[in-house]
Subunit: 224 residues, 2 copies
């Protein structure tokens, strides 16, 4: 009975990794679609998001089933609950990748991002890709150092986000209102992507160490 | 044992209602703070958000405790899991109220919202207030009609959100880039507030009817 339970729990972890891998592809492709105004790629990201949502529902249904059949306690219970939460965070990260793709699609054949900000968004996309790859590692290995690295990588994303909002506030914006709104939303999507990654990492830290303080969802970056 | 379990479950529902009431106060005060550039009120909303976060953590800790001690199955299990998810949605709605207050605070002593859009944001704030009051009712009574009403109220919010983005895209924006970004983010915060309310309502419908399709998180409004 215990063996079956642990096999099932391991299967849930494997499925979380496979969702994280889909999210990794999604955010990389969304970034490329954005920077290259590639509408086919944008469409692919938008379509693929449904696969992420389905897998999330599947993990949640199986987690509830595990709770009902096995009535786990202590760390096993915490693992099942944490898995359901992580699946929610990963699904939301998939949504954010889709939002990036939707802006790329909406502006096609134009580029949504002005040329002088293209390099910054390329960096944001690169960091977001790096952060989700760390998530894959953290879920697989439960390595606490890798989990803590995610907070630092997220700091880079937050710094770029603040930089973007400073640029928008400077009064020298030449690209019009629509573009300002796109840039603000895009920057926020990448920033929130990082926040959810930090939340996933903290859930893993909580599972391993039992430190409850690390369960808090990661806050939005304060732009003041 | 069963009686104790149901008393505890009822206590969780009472606590969800009390979180929803805090969120109701928060979104109303945040809207007033925004429209009247009232920085003291904005500060109060920002401070009070911590109370919402604490209660959410408390509900979640007690829910996990309930799962461990009582090992509920079937509809009892679904209720505990749904409560944890609803507490998450409500906490996020509190965050969104705080974000509105933070923009009011950031622009003080100026008004963050241009005068000609003030009436639209007043309507958005009014609808958001109405929607959270429906949430209180739906959690208390599990009334399915009230739950479905929430979807319709949210449609009003989505319509105003689209209207706001049309205004921003029209090319006749006279209020500068910073203001455009503020307006876009504010509009999105109200829209997301409504989305989370719909998600909470669907979770209640799911609990009552067992229709799993209604468990999906409510999607962002597509602005294309």
């Amino acid at each position: 009975m215990r063996q079956i339970f642990h096999d099932e729990l391991e299967q849930v972890a494997t499925d979380l990794v496979s969702i994280a891998e889909l999210v990794s592809t999604a955010i990389r492709q969304a970034t490329t679609a954005l920077l290259e105004a590639d509408v086919q790629l944008a469409d692919r990201v938008i379509e693929q998001d449904q696969a992420i949502d389905l897998r999330r529902n599947d993990i949640d249904a199986r987690s509830i089933d595990l709770l009902a059949r096995q009535a786990p306690v202590a760390s096993d219970l915490r693992t099942v609950v944490a898995s359901m939460r992580m699946s929610g965070d990963l699904e939301r990260m998939g949504d954010l990748a889709r939002h990036v793709a939707q802006i790329a699609r909406m502006r096609y054949p134009e580029h949504a991002v002005p040329e002088d900000l293209s390099a910054t968004f390329e960096r944001m996309g690169g960091i977001a890709g790096r952060i989700i790859d760390h998530i894959v590692e953290v879920i697989t290995t439960q390595d606490l150092d890798a989990a803590r690295d995610i907070e630092q990588i997220d700091d880079e994303l937050d710094a770029l986000h603040r930089e973007m909002f400073t640029t928008l506030a400077e009064g020298s914006w030449q690209h019009g209102t629509t573009s300002a709104v796109d840039v603000a939303l895009l920057s926020r999507y990448f920033e929130r992507f990082g926040d959810h990654a930090v939340t996933v990492a903290r859930r893993v830290v909580f599972l391993v160490t039992g430190e409850a303080g690390s369960m808090e969802p990661h806050e939005d970056t304060d732009l003041r």
